[in-house]
Assembly symmetry: C2
Homo-oligomer: 152 residues x 2
DNA sequence: GGTATACTGGATATAAAGGTCCAGATATCC
DNA sequence: GGATATCTGGACCTTTATATCCAGTATACC
């Protein structure tokens, strides 16, 4: 019913865009990049990226600077930014907090289903909480990752 | 950018509907239930559930019977149906198979990002592959789960 | 101060997911 | 064989996520 032709990820397209932008900025901490520069490098539609960056600024993850020489800049060290924070800034991972069916007449087994679904959600939430942007950066001293192998 | 007010799950709304229906049918294997009955019990919009059931029939998970006394029926034992099969029937979990940016000029760090995202996806895919509908059913011999506690 | 650069925020457009409706096809019962 | 029950499939509507556009504002340079 849903082809998911474009997105192709468990997180929203917007969430992915936000992560791409933050990772890109993290590659040169201290240097400001414009929306256009980030857009080209990360292949995110410029006009939409503009909205995404605004959300990241509001969340305090990124600092903006207008005018000539302006652009966007991380406010913190990449090692201190969890992937989850970035996702939360634009599109939080939805947890199942109450039974979607209501309590009255719902079967106990459907309850077990939602427990399982939320457990799975909690698992990836934990992964994203414990992984930082810094973890994704390839340092010069480290070996080159299997980039070609895992993509082609 | 996305409130996700309704769905509230890491899988699509449609995927959740499909799971609810299958779990419901699994509670009484061998008995046919109509769209209306399933709809009421699982609180899935009837007209839409009709579409979801069609997909489950096409996938071979469910058998349909028209006319008086008809309805839907599981084709297999609940213990042999993985959650992943149900999701695949309506809305497969999207894996990241190739770099969303293309290879040429993309940063190696964005590659690491997608690797991480796909790893997380693979994790929940595995959970859903190894959990069966039967696992969600509460047998009479088992104790009552913490249904009220985890929902209200 | 004028000009060019760049973010901000609101309005609007497009695409996809979710949802409805109904005529048609089968099946059962009497 | 008529009446009723039920799934099927196509057309259509609604809502949400994604994406675009542009006027406004702040900043830097000369």
């Amino acid at each position: 019913m849903n082809t998911r032709g474009e997105n192709g990820s468990i997180i929203s397209q917007t969430g992915e865009y936000a992560l791409r932008a933050i990772v890109f900025l993290a590659m040169d901490p201290g240097i400001a990049y414009t929306t256009l520069q980030i857009s080209v490098a990360t292949k995110v539609p410029g006009a939409y990226l503009s909205k995404v960056m605004q959300a990241l600024v509001r969340a305090g993850l990124v600092q903006s600077q207008r005018g000539f020489g302006g652009g966007f800049l991380l406010t913190r060290s990449p090692d201190s930014i969890a992937l989850l924070e970035v996702l939360d800034a634009v599109d939080p991972i939805p947890r199942i907090r109450s039974c979607p069916l209501g309590l009255e007449s719902h079967g106990i087994n459907l309850c077990a289903l939602h427990k399982k679904l939320d457990d799975a959600t909690a698992t990836i939430e934990t992964v994203f909480r414990e992984t930082t942007i810094g973890d994704l950066l390839v340092r010069p001293t480290q070996s080159i990752p299997l980039c070609n192998a895992s993509q082609q």
